[in-house]
């Protein structure tokens, strides 16, 4: 009888869920409590899934009353192999493209957060370009270490242009920044390009140097910022996280302090980074940091150094190859700060609202998972 019972419960849950989203559409402040009550019902009907999924954070902190200036989408860390070796990540990347194309309203552009390829192979990068060409919205790229360290970015730049760039969109200054430079660790050890690539590709490798924007990168950024007025909101798009989280896994930017210092004079700065394959939230003064979900595989949270404002994503099910993965969007508001939406493929969507970061974690708290990670 167990499967039948489970089916009934599942049916009940689906009905409740549909009703809930109907109600959300019509939501105003007065009806909030009523809907919140329904959310609790659904959570209990669901029973098998942590109830956090139905807390009303999207609505409360999301600032639905305030209309976003625009929206852009992202996908990141696709880690494509050549099709002959491994199709799993190719399928996931195609799914991400499909999901983003289905977004309504469509995003202004799509950020691809780097690590498009797994081993920097020309065929992997070309396959990536081919998959991304299916995206309806314009594509903005940043380079990851997996794209770069076979030929030091030669093929990537041939396909996608310079790794540092800047553009303006509806009042916000966007900057794509190459953040995965490393001090030369390969020449002295007489590594071949493939050995260099494999060393950087190994997250827990003690041999490689730490990521940095580097002196040339910082100089480029200084010049790019020189013409931007202080009250213009800035969104920085990078692969590495531009702060210091966990050094042994290169969840780290060696010259993060210097880069942040250049951004302090601005009214609002948002950094959107990939590389960590997990939901990640951090704030330093005026700078809001958001991690991007991967489409390939999720990473565990590091044993220490997790930013205090991060609400961890739910523990991932190893038996489900799409769990812990997904795509996301950023709803950018007039202030320049954004509501960050994580569309997890196997969970309900989660929003980290700008109100959460603006209040230093006091308001609009995102739902916490029931089982903390190990």
């Amino acid at each position: 009888m167990w499967p039948l019972k489970w089916k009934q419960r599942e049916q009940k849950y689906r009905q409740a869920r549909a009703g809930f989203f109907e109600a959300v559409k019509l939501l105003d402040r007065r009806s909030f409590l009523r809907v919140a009550g329904r959310a609790a019902t659904i959570a209990s009907a669901k029973a098998i899934v942590p109830p956090h999924s139905f807390q009303l954070v999207d609505v409360l902190g999301g600032g639905l009353r305030e209309k976003p200036a625009f929206r852009f989408a992202y996908l990141a860390d696709t880690h494509l192999y050549e099709r002959t070796l491994n199709e799993r990540f190719v399928r996931a990347a195609m799914r991400a493209v499909k999901d983003i194309n289905a977004l309504k309203p469509p995003p202004d552009f799509v950020l691809v957060g780097g690590d498009l390829a797994q081993f920097g192979q020309p065929k992997e990068l070309e396959l990536g370009k081919q998959i991304l060409s299916e995206l309806k919205a314009p594509v903005k790229m940043v380079a990851g270490e997996h794209d770069w360290y076979l030929d030091l970015g030669e093929k990537w730049q041939e396909l996608f242009g310079p790794p540092n760039y800047s553009f303006h969109n509806k009042g916000v200054q966007f900057i794509g920044l190459m953040s995965v430079n490393e001090k030369d660790f390969w020449t002295e050890r007489k590594m071949t390009p493939m050995e260099r690539m494999n060393t950087v590709a190994q997250l827990d490798s003690p041999l490689q140097s730490r990521f940095e924007v580097g002196e040339a990168g910082r100089e480029w950024l200084r010049q790019a910022l020189a013409t931007v007025p202080n009250d213009t909101p800035i969104v920085l798009m990078t692969h590495a996280l531009l702060y210091k989280y966990y050094r042994p896994w290169n969840f780290w930017t060696e010259d993060a302090d210097l880069v942040q210092e250049m951004l302090f004079p601005y009214r609002s700065v948002t950094v959107l980074h990939a590389h960590t394959h997990q939901m990640l939230t951090h704030r330093v003064k005026n700078i809001h940091f958001h991690g991007m979900l991967a489409t390939s595989w999720p990473w565990p949270y590091a044993p220490e150094g997790l930013p205090k404002l991060t609400v961890k994503m739910d523990r991932v099910d190893p038996f489900d190859e799409l769990d812990g993965l997904g795509v996301g969007t950023m709803d950018v508001y007039g202030s320049g700060y954004a509501n960050k939406h994580y569309y997890l493929w196997r969970r309900d969507p989660i929003t980290v609202a700008k109100a959460y970061l603006e209040s230093w974690g006091k308001e609009a708290i995102p739902p916490a998972p029931e089982f903390p990670s190990y």
């Binding site: 192999y81 070796l85 491994n86 799993r88 797994q118 190994q202 997250l203 827990d204 042994p248 896994w249 595989w297 999720p298 990473w299 565990p300 590091a302 044993p303 190893p318 038996f319 190859e321 089982f371 990670s373 190990y374």
Partner: protein, 228 residues
């Protein structure tokens, strides 16, 4: 010389030759045989590979505050200071014999004090062998080809520094495996599914090496079988 003497000599030389032959045969048996990759994991402490890596024991030099000669025993620990004799001076035979006798007495006294049969040498072997197994496990954990994967995925890609493997929580119920499972069953699940390789037998030396590495990363963590 009588005839009987030659007879004895003949028997003794025959025995000697037999001994040499037998020793040679044993030596042949002990010599490492050419092996495949799998058995590399399994080599003992005294194999050619282990000996290449092994550091020869060094004695830390004993020094005298009063610039006297210090004589050290070959165990590297027992030493004796000879008053009135400068380093580099040659001891007269009688004195040297006396020093040797004193040192042996000291050595035997130290031995008598030791309550255990296990020596420092034993501990070194245990530690070295453990480390060797952990290193082998580290190599397999980071090398999909060596572990028999077929699609370029290695363990460390999802588990940097063996994170999120939590060996201290096994055995525990895994709903997907429909039973209480051991860590090695989860390792095999990963080899078979994400890595698309062939599962190892549970006593495969590669499996033991993987477990040695994974558990070494959680050394000191409290055992909590069944934890989810």
């Amino acid at each position: 010389m009588s005839k009987g003497y030659y007879k004895y000599l003949l028997v003794i030389s025959f025995l000697l030759v037999a001994c040499f032959l037998l020793a040679g045969f044993r030596q042949q048996q002990l010599r490492p045989q050419p092996e495949g990759l799998a058995s590399v994991v399994d080599r003992g402490p005294f194999s050619a590979v282990a000996q290449e890596k092994r550091e020869l024991p060094r004695h830390s030099p004993a020094e005298s505050d009063r610039a006297n000669l210090i004589v050290q025993l070959c165990d590297g620990q027992t030493s004796l200071e000879i008053p009135g004799v400068r380093p580099g001076e040659v001891l007269p035979p009688e004195k040297a014999r006396d020093v040797a006798r004193q040192m042996m007495v000291k050595y035997l006294e130290e031995q008598a004090k030791q309550a255990s049969k296990w020596t420092k040498q034993d501990r070194l072997i245990w530690e070295r062998e453990q480390q060797r197994k952990i290193e082998e496990g580290y190599r397999l954990f980071h090398d999909w080809k060596a572990l028999g994967g077929t699609i370029g995925i290695s363990c460390d890609m999802c588990h940097p520094d063996a994170a999120d493997t939590h060996p201290e929580t096994y055995p525990k119920f895994q709903p997907q495996l429909k039973d209480v499972a051991a860590l090695r069953e989860m390792i095999n699940w990963c080899i078979e599914n994400p890595m698309k390789g062939k599962p190892l037998s549970c006593d495969d030396r590669k499996m033991i090496a993987l477990e040695a590495y994974i558990t070494s990363q959680r050394k000191g963590v409290v055992l909590d079988p069944g934890k989810h």
